[in-house]
Symmetry: C2
Subunit: 396 residues, 2 copies
C-alpha cells in the first residue's frame, strides 16, 4: 500500500483489510451462488408501488427534494409499526436515520469515549465492529452460543468485577450471525442488569419484523425504554437502497443525537422519507410484509430441507425463527475458511466462515458457516448446498 | 435537561445547544422571510425529470433498491463534471458519499486523532465545526476577512512555530459564510504550504459550480491531488433531498475510507445513485445548471440592488461571484444578534449574525450578517431587506 506523505489518524495503522473484506471482492462473480451477504431478495422489492409513490410525491411537493426536518407523519407510521411488536412509543421518541448502521454509529458516538470500555458477544455483526475501530476501545468479550445466545453469567461476572461498559450491544431476534432468538428469561435478566449496573443497551433489530414462527417475544425496549436504545430499519422490510431507518430513544437525548446526525449527513434523505411515508399512506404495507415473510419462510424451509438432505448426522443447525441466516456447525475438526477457498475455486459457492464474526482473534467457530437464505430461490439453495457438501467431501 | 442514569461520552458535556440551534427553531414560522439558511431554491429542482427517471429505473432494474457497490457510471459522470472545473481525474479517485457533509466527516475520521491539532479560519461553516466536537481537538485559529479570505501569514506563522495540523479546512469558492472566492495567488501559496509542511487540505466545494461571473479559478485540487482532498455534492446543483455527493481522493486511501463509510451507513443510497446517473444519461444537466445559475444570478443581483437602496454608505458588502450568500458588514457599533432578535419579533425576517460562525468564543463579526439570496424570489428579497433596514433604524 502506498504511504501517505502526511499522518493519518492512529487507528488506521491497526485497520488491516480483513479476510471478510478480501473475500467480498470474490463475490462480484455473477456465476457465483452466494450464501454470504445479508441481502434481502431483490425480487420482492415493491418497485412498481414505489414508482407510483415517487410520481405522486414529486409532482405534488417540490419540498420533498429540499433539506427538511424529520417527517412527523413518517414517525407516526413507525409508532404504529412498533405497536405490532408490542411496543407503545410516541413520535417524540423516534429519531430518523440513514439506515440502522447510522443509528448504531450515532449511539456509539453518543456513549463511547476514546479508549472507553465496552462489552460484546464473541460473535458480533462485523459492521458494528467497524464502528468501534477509531475509538480503540477496551473490549470485554463474553462467549456466545448458537443454542441459547450470549453467556449471561459471564456478563454478570464482568459487571461484578467493577467494569461499567459504555454500552452492551446485541441483536435479540434473528441474531447476526448466530440466527437465534433470545429467550424471554434472558431478555428480562439483561434489562435488569442494565438497570442495576446502570449501563445502556444498544438493541439492533434489523430482523425482528421478519418472523416465520408463532413464538415471538417483544424487543428489549418493550421491557425498558430508559436503558434500551432501539435501532430499526426499513432496509429488510422495504428495501436497503432507500437507506432509511430509525432509533427509539429517550426524548432528552434528541438534541445531542441531532448534533451528531447533523455532523454525519445533515438530515436523512428527504425524498426517501416522503417515499416511505407515501407508501404507508397509500399502499398496503401489511400485505407486502405478509407476502415477504411467506416467501422468506419458503426459502428458510428450502435451506432446512437441503441441509437435511446433505448434512443429516454430519452437522448441527436450527431452523431460525427470524431473520436472514441459518448457522451451520460442522464437527470441530473442519476448517470452513479452507472449505470456502476450495468452494470458491472449484464450485463457485460462497458463505461466511464462522470465526470471521469474532470480536477477538480467536478461531472459535472456524467449524461453522453462516448461510443466508433470502437472496436465492429454492432451486438455487438446493444446488448450492449440494455443492458445499461435495466440496467438504473433497477437502476432507 | 433531564439527566441520564448512565454516562454519556465526555464531549456531550461541552455540547451546549448553540445560539444558532436555538435560532433555527424560530425559522419554522411559515410567515417568516428567511435569509438564514443555505437553502437552494425548491422551485428549480428538476422534479418532473426526476419522476421520469425514477419510473425508468424502477421498472427496469430492481437492483437499484439493493445494497450495491458505488455505481461506476455515476463516477464517470462526475469525472466529466469535474472537467468543466479544469480538473482531470479518474473514476478510481471518486468516492461517493451521502452528501458533502459525510465527505467532510469521513475525512476528519481518517485524519484526526482524539485531542489532535487542526488549523481553522475564524469563520468556518458550522456543520464542519460540529464534526470536530467529539474529537476535542486543539484548534489554532487564523483570522479571516470578507475582502481577501484567510490570513495566510498567520497560517505560515503557526506552521513555522512547529504545529503540524491533521488538516486545514477551507471553502475556496463562494466561501461560507464570507462569500468570497480565494485569489489564485492564495490558492497556489496554500498548496505550496501543504507540500512544504506536509499537511492535507480538506477542500469543501459545495458552491464551485454555482458561478455567476466570468472570473473563475480552478479548485485547489487542480493544483495538487496528493495533499488536497476535494469534497463535492449534488445538493446545490440538483437537490439536497437526494443526499448524494463525492470526494476526490488518492486511490490508496479508498480502503481506509471504505471502512469508515461502511461504519457510517454501509453505502450511499443506491436508488439515488441510479437516479442521478439516469438523469445525466438521459436528461440535460448542462441546460439545467445554466438555467439555475441564471436564476440565482438574478436573485444575487436583486439582493445587491436591495442593499444599494437600503444600505448605501451605511454598510459594506461585495456582490459574490459564487454560492448562496452575501456577507453584509455594518459599522462596528452594531450588534446583529440584538438586531436579529427584534427582526424576528417585530418584522419576521431572519438572517444569521456573523459571529455565530466563529470557531473561537470571540465576538468578531458581531456587526455582520450572512444573507442567503437563493431561497427567495426577487420581490421577497426587496421586501425582506427593506424590513431589516427598518429594524436597524428602530433598534439603534
Amino acid at each position: 500500500m502506498q504511504q501517505s506523505k502526511f499522518k493519518l489518524a492512529d487507528w488506521t495503522a491497526r485497520n488491516k483489510s480483513s479476510v471478510m473484506e478480501r473475500m467480498l471482492t470474490a463475490l462480484s462473480d455473477p456465476d457465483l451462488i452466494s450464501f454470504a451477504l445479508g441481502l434481502p431478495a431483490s425480487d420482492f422489492f415493491p418497485s412498481e408501488e414505489f414508482a407510483r409513490c415517487f410520481s405522486r410525491i414529486l409532482l405534488k411537493n417540490k419540498r420533498s427534494l429540499q433539506y427538511q426536518p424529520p417527517l412527523k407523519s413518517l414517525k407516526s407510521h413507525i409508532v404504529n409499526l412498533m405497536k405490532t411488536r408490542g411496543l407503545e412509543t410516541s413520535e417524540e421518541n423516534i429519531f430518523l436515520t440513514t439506515g440502522a448502521q447510522q443509528g448504531a454509529n450515532l449511539l456509539v458516538h453518543l456513549l463511547l469515549d476514546f479508549n472507553g470500555d465496552v462489552i460484546l458477544e464473541e460473535k458480533t455483526y462485523t459492521g458494528f465492529q467497524q464502528v468501534l475501530k477509531p475509538f480503540a476501545p477496551r473490549i470485554f468479550v463474553i462467549p456466545s452460543s448458537s443454542k441459547d445466545g450470549f453467556d449471561i453469567d459471564a456478563l454478570v461476572k464482568i459487571l461484578e468485577s467493577g467494569v461499567r461498559p459504555s454500552f452492551f450491544y446485541t441483536v435479540c431476534d434473528g441474531h447476526n450471525p448466530l440466527s437465534l432468538n433470545l429467550s424471554i428469561a434472558k431478555r428480562q435478566k439483561l434489562v435488569e442488569l442494565a438497570r442495576t449496573f446502570k449501563f445502556p443497551i444498544i438493541e439492533d433489530d434489523p430482523y425482528g419484523f421478519l418472523s416465520y414462527d408463532e413464538n415471538q417475544f417483544p424487543p428489549l425496549i418493550a421491557f425498558d425504554s430508559e436503558f434500551v436504545f432501539y435501532v430499526g430499519t426499513f432496509s429488510k422490510i422495504l428495501a436497503p437502497g432507500l437507506r432509511t431507518g430509525w432509533m427509539i430513544i429517550p426524548e432528552y437525548l434528541t438534541a445531542q443525537l441531532g448534533s451528531l446526525k447533523e455532523a454525519s449527513d445533515i438530515n436523512t434523505g428527504t425524498l426517501n422519507q416522503h417515499l416511505i411515508n407515501e407508501y404507508f399512506d397509500s399502499e398496503n404495507f401489511d400485505l407486502h410484509l405478509a407476502k415477504l415473510k411467506e416467501e422468506y419462510k419458503k426459502r428458510r424451509n428450502s435451506l432446512n430441507d437441503a441441509l437435511n438432505q446433505n448434512f443429516i448426522n454430519r452437522a448441527q443447525w436450527q431452523n431460525p425463527s427470524n431473520g436472514l441466516f441459518t448457522w451451520l456447525e460442522l464437527p470441530p475438526e473442519f476448517d470452513t475458511e479452507k472449505i470456502l477457498e476450495h468452494s470458491l475455486k472449484t464450485r463457485k459457492v460462497a458463505f461466511i466462515p464462522g470465526h470471521l464474526f469474532n470480536v477477538s482473534d480467536s478461531r472459535i467457530g472456524s467449524n461453522c458457516l453462516r448461510l443466508n437464505f433470502t437472496n436465492n430461490c429454492p432451486d438455487t439453495i438446493f444446488e448450492g448446498i449440494h455443492k458445499i457438501a461435495k466440496v467438504i467431501e473433497e477437502v476432507v
